[in-house]
Symmetry: C2
């Protein structure tokens, strides 16, 4: 049975303008790989309503699950929650359980749960909350979409809350062999090897280090015996 599929939607002008380098995509990719969920596509869009809604519909429709990051804070540019609701034609409003979580958090801090902060209790109808042990304001899951914060520490905590609720597949086994030769020298035999092991994914990732060419050959698959056999064949083709 093929593994469940997933996509990610990163929301935020600050990534597209080059101001911030996204860290959440790389983190999620690694976590999904561990539990056997295949991350198939990532999109990064700006804080624009139409862009967020269109990407949500496309990705939630095409993959088993969608993870979003960014745009769920209290400021005017935080519009993710209402866009996700709109993508599924669901109403959105302040929800009592989310409000209670925020109220307890700001009471403990001695801060006021003002109008801006109350925006973070706006949850689409039918969603379940995602726990946020870092800064209280919850994310939510609506159908197959998991809506999470953009701040990396909060995003990571929410991923830890969500992943145990999902059904994974066979974890992808992966071995990497570094070959200190140009890809052009490797390509022919590697192509033959890929044909011999159609169930494996064999990728070549070239690098240039101190002016010398090389490539990391990554062999991936869910059958460990096959991965080992392909690694063995590759080592015989290119002895160190």
């Amino acid at each position: 049975m093929p593994n469940p599929t997933a996509a990610m939607l990163v929301i935020g002008d600050e990534i597209l303008s080059g101001r911030t380098r996204d860290a959440n995509m790389h983190y999620l990719a690694q976590e999904l790989c561990k539990v056997g969920i295949d991350l198939c596509e990532v999109r990064i869009v700006s804080d624009k309503r139409e862009a967020i809604i269109a990407a949500t519909k496309a990705l939630a429709g095409a993959y088993d699950s969608l993870f979003t990051s960014g745009g769920i804070g209290p400021t005017h540019d935080d519009i993710t929650a209402e866009c996700i609701a709109a993508a599924f034609d669901m109403p959105i409003g302040i929800r009592d359980d989310a409000r209670a979580i925020l109220q307890a958090h700001y009471n403990a801090q001695g801060s006021e749960l003002n109008e801006a902060r109350l925006r973070m209790a706006r949850i689409p109808d039918g969603a379940t909350l995602i726990e946020n042990p870092v800064s209280a304001a919850p994310g939510f899951t609506l159908q197959n979409v998991h809506v999470m914060a953009g701040v990396p520490s909060v995003f990571q905590a929410m991923v830890a809350s969500v992943l145990p609720t999902l059904t994974g597949g066979a974890p992808l086994l992966s071995q990497t062999i570094r070959i200190d030769r140009g890809e052009g020298d490797i390509a022919g035999p590697l192509s033959t090897l890929a044909e011999q092991y159609p169930a494996l994914s064999i990728g070549s990732y070239p690098f240039i280090r101190n002016g010398a060419y090389g490539a990391n050959i990554v062999i991936r698959g869910s059958d460990g015996t096959q991965v080992d056999a392909a690694v063995q064949s590759l080592r015989e083709l290119f002895p160190e």
Copy 2:
């Protein structure tokens, strides 16, 4: 006149599996910002023919230009060039000028221009070559799509070759003000400020540092006088 728009397509299983953290997107975002081209959307897809073709069609159709990274080397998993050709229904074949560049490069190295390396001379009909001063094998521009390598040093060199050929817009001016208060305290006044300056983009990027909440407020626009005025207003709202 609004700035030209752009999208980026990152091609590679190694990014989606979490093995490699993409560096090219962040680099391109910064370079485009400098020349006044608005990066509006990024997609990351795997080394799959249908995924690459579909994303190319969607992004090249929606934005003024599209930049791709990855998948133009000599190995079996390098299928970007043929996918771009397919997206535009153009034939692709080995081209004399590209072959001559490779031949000269490998002659100088004392390496053979073998069948695998010759794949890198496959260029869609109607494309112009993008110079690669690092490792010779050229990228290409087909209509509004600029096809470049995934290795960061090569990608950056190709971006430097391409950018001078494009028409930019007004560079986006940006000022960042750090406010050491929770976003919930800032959100109300910030929303009013955003309404006062509809031509500016005002974003709030929260952080948690040593357990304390704060936010970087980024004010962006092409009119420096307006950006300065909004910064001044913000400083008055939240004196240090």
